[in-house]
Every structure is written in structure tokens, then in C-alpha cells.
Symmetry: C2
Subunit: 246 residues, 2 copies
DNA sequence: TAGTGGTCTAGACCACGTA
DNA sequence: ACGTGGTCTAGACCACTAG
């Protein structure tokens, strides 16, 4: 558990009071709650203090406010499952295993029509293509098949993909980003069976990620995990708030 | 796109200035940025206004502040993929298909030792167990295998599971929640093949969710989707902020 | 018109870190 | 000792919504 605050601040007490009333069910969705001036008299606080608490709770999705009307309990945010993005090298080494990688492909080539569409570039423009099998103690762990717009990654062909993950390199050139992902269960193809050293056509977890920045699509990756690695751990939490201002 | 604010507020301008400097790379991770009083003179604002902006950006993970020392650019939050939780009935009907359900199991029974551990209850205590095959236009879509602590759901045995999803019922009795999930690729077992009307042992996406509240574990569910349904769409965003009070 | 929230100011006292 | 952030107050003006 976390450290107990020695002095709960006035803001904290007001905020805790409101959250407590909501989660106790005293105030439910759509209910009008007391006005700023009512909280001012109830807690002996100044209006600025009360206002800041209410603004904070509004920004975090617990309340909605209407100028001239009042403050209301907000519709709760829907829940989502979220899965962390981790550097594959760190993930493997975190288990105590040694990471090695087999570089299958590392080339610059022309984008197909579909790829150009995904990246928002002209068909035939240059893309960097890499395929790497990441292994833990020599046992294949994940097949990474990735396209990158070379505008976002210098010296693509000179990178030692056995030592550095493309994930970590793309994270370094980090502007504020966004992206989409799909997750699917598939059966490994013959080529994938060979790369992942599978004896039988196992069920695999396939992740396809596309991430972009203001300047365009950065990368599209297909990650494939088989057998005992084909499992991910996530957490359930309310939908994240939008990242930008105010 | 969203509506343009007619009057960007002073807070907005200060906040946009700081975010702009960070995302332009002028101020990078760990850098000390100007103090409150410096922003006060730069923008001709009062200290409260500046302070509120900085507190807001700190709470949202862009800055870290140290009393007596200064304000610094924070380590960026790691990225996560998040997948929405949706009522299976709404999900099916959103595609224009008709939802039907086949109730395989609907019973109260004693918890096994493992289940009691998962729920934090005594072995042998009563649990509600339901298995439902949800179908779209008669075609099996998802197999739901769910345990519920009956303290959180009244009249378990009288619910018409063909019409009401347990998801929606559990959402109604909504206190603030939290939970964990795992996602895995598996091959359907013989029984699952029969329930999902599969001819061959397809790759399936298996979700296991456990959700709880202050009062204890509410439910543990195993959701299984096969073939063309074994795909989920998610979004990539920064790690959600913790849900509770500041 | 009265009450509500939205914004901002000027000033105060405190606790903390650095020099 | 000085500057930093942390908290809070009292008051002001505005825009909006309701009755």
C-alpha cells in the first residue's frame, strides 16, 4: 500500500467527499450535486478551492458541468482492457533468459499499393522492411515482421537488429504518438512454423500494430507468438482520457 | 475535427506553450523548465494561473515538480493497447445481425478450492455458474463461461440469459471497479467445437477476465471466439492515469 | 433577475531544497 | 538566505441558464 498522507489537504477532503458520495450511490448518474457556493459554506473553503476540485473531477470524467445550470454526476466511462507495450529484449531478459535474434530480412524496397495506402505515401516509394525472430535462450519467442517509413529511422540498413530492437529505436525518436492494433488467433503457416521452430501447426497470437505521428505513419508491424508465448497479461481500467490540451 | 475555441484562455495559451516546447524537442526529458515566477512575468499572468497550469500538466504526466527545486519534463508514459469492453448483445446487433443465445448451464454450485482462491471466499461457498453460447443470425459467435459471486447479483437462477447479458447486469450494479485480463490463442477442445459448431479444430481467442470491487471479487469469465470472430480491434495510447483521487 | 459555473488576480503563509 | 513549489483566501468580472 502507499504512504498515508500526513495532512490530507482541503482539496483532498472535498474531493474525497464527492467521490465517496458517488461511489456510495448517494449521488448517481445524472444527479445534480451541490453548487460551488454550497460546498463553500459546507467546508468553509474559498470558492477557488472548491472550483478547482470540481474542475479536476470534471476533467477526470466523474462530473459534467453546465454554466448557469449546475454540476452533475457524469456517465461513467466505459471499461477497457489495456496491454503494455514492452521492448521485446527487455521482456525476454526480465524472465532471466538471454535474448538472441535471427535477422531474416533487412532491406529497403518499394511499397506495394496496399502498403502505400497504409502509410499514406505514393506507391513505389521506399519502405524499410525487417523480419526478426527473437529468441529466449535460443528458443524462438516472437516473429517480428515490420515495415517502417525510412523518414523516421536513420541508417536502416546499418542497424544491428540482433542487438537493438526496432521498438526501442522508434521510441527514441518519440514525438507524441497514437496508433491502432488488432489481435487475432491464427494457425502458423509452414514458413512461420519453420521460423518459430514448431513441430506442429500451433495456435498463434497475431498482433498487427500501426502507429503514426503528426508527420505521418511511422510503422506497421506484425508480431506472432506461438504456444506458451501466445498469452498476454492486461489490466482493466476506465477508458483513458484524451492525451492533449487543455 | 473539433470546434475551434473562440477565445483561447490564458491557461490554454500557457499550457499550449509548454506542450509545444516539449513536443518540439526544445525541452526534453529531465530538463528543468522555467519557474512559476518566470512564467508569471513572461505571460503577465498571476501565479495562481500559472500554478494551476503546471499542476494540471503534472497530474497528466507531462511534468514532475519538486518543492524547493523546480519543474522538470517527465519521463513519457509508456504506451499501451486498449480494447473496449462491450456488451456482447450490442456488439452483435451493431453489425446488423440478430442476437440469440443458447444457455448451456445456469446453476448455483459450490466453489472448488481454486475458484475459492480466485474469489477470496471459503471453499465450498456458493457461486453462480453460467455458460452461454451467443450467436449472430444463428451462427455461434462467442462462448461465455462465467462464475459470479452471488452476493453481487440477485436472483441468478431467474435471469433469462437468452435476453439479458450478464455483462450488462453486472455493469448496472456498478461501483468503481478494477480487474485483470489475459488473452491467449488456443485450439478449441472437442466440447467447445461442438458448442461453437466448428467442423475443424480452429484457432480461438480466449479472454479470461477477473473483476473486483472494494467488497471483493465480482466475477471471473472465460470468453472464447473462433475463426473469423477471433479478432479484436484496439487503440494505442499512453498508459491511463490512476483512477482515484490526486 | 438570481444563481450558476469560467476565469483571473493579488496576496498570504508554509515546507522544502540549494547554495 | 533565497528561490522554489504547495496551499488557500477574498474578491472581481464575465457568460450562461433558469424561472
Amino acid at each position: 500500500m502507499s504512504q498515508v498522507d500526513p495532512k490530507p489537504t482541503l482539496r483532498d477532503r472535498i474531493g474525497a467527499h464527492i467521490i465517496g458520495r458517488i461511489s456510495a450511490g448517494d449521488w448517481t448518474v445524472g444527479d445534480r450535486i451541490p453548487s460551488e457556493s454550497e460546498f463553500v459554506t459546507e467546508f468553509g473553503a474559498s470558492r477557488m478551492t472548491v472550483h478547482n476540485v470540481l474542475r479536476n473531477l470534471t476533467q477526470r470524467g466523474f462530473l459534467t458541468r453546465r454554466k448557469g445550470a449546475g454540476t452533475y454526476v457524469a456517465e461513467p466511462r466505459p471499461y477497457v482492457s489495456h496491454y503494455p507495450h514492452q521492448d521485446i529484449i527487455e521482456e525476454i531478459e526480465a524472465t532471466g533468459a538471454r535474448h538472441t535474434a535471427h535477422v531474416v530480412t533487412q532491406e529497403l524496397r518499394q511499397a506495394t499499393e496496399g502498403e502505400a495506402g497504409d502509410f499514406g505515401i505514393a506507391p513505389g516509394a521506399t519502405l524499410f522492411h525487417a523480419r526478426v525472430v527473437h529468441a529466449a535462450e535460443g528458443v524462438p519467442f516472437e516473429l517480428e515482421d515490420r515495415l517502417i517509413n525510412p523518414a523516421f529511422l536513420a541508417d536502416c540498413l546499418r542497424i544491428n537488429l540482433a542487438k537493438r530492437s526496432l521498438f526501442s529505436l522508434l521510441m527514441l525518436a518519440r514525438p507524441l504518438r497514437d496508433g491502432e492494433e488488432s489481435m487475432r488467433a491464427v494457425i502458423a503457416s509452414a514458413e512461420e512454423m519453420e521460423l518459430l521452430q514448431l513441430d506442429a501447426p500451433l495456435a498463434c497470437l497475431e498482433l498487427i500494430r500501426r502507429t503514426w505521428t503528426d508527420a505521418g505513419v511511422v510503422t506497421r508491424a506484425r508480431l506472432l507468438r506461438a504456444g506458451p508465448n501466445a498469452i498476454l497479461q492486461g489490466r482493466i481500467a476506465p477508458l483513458p482520457l484524451p492525451a492533449e490540451l487543455p
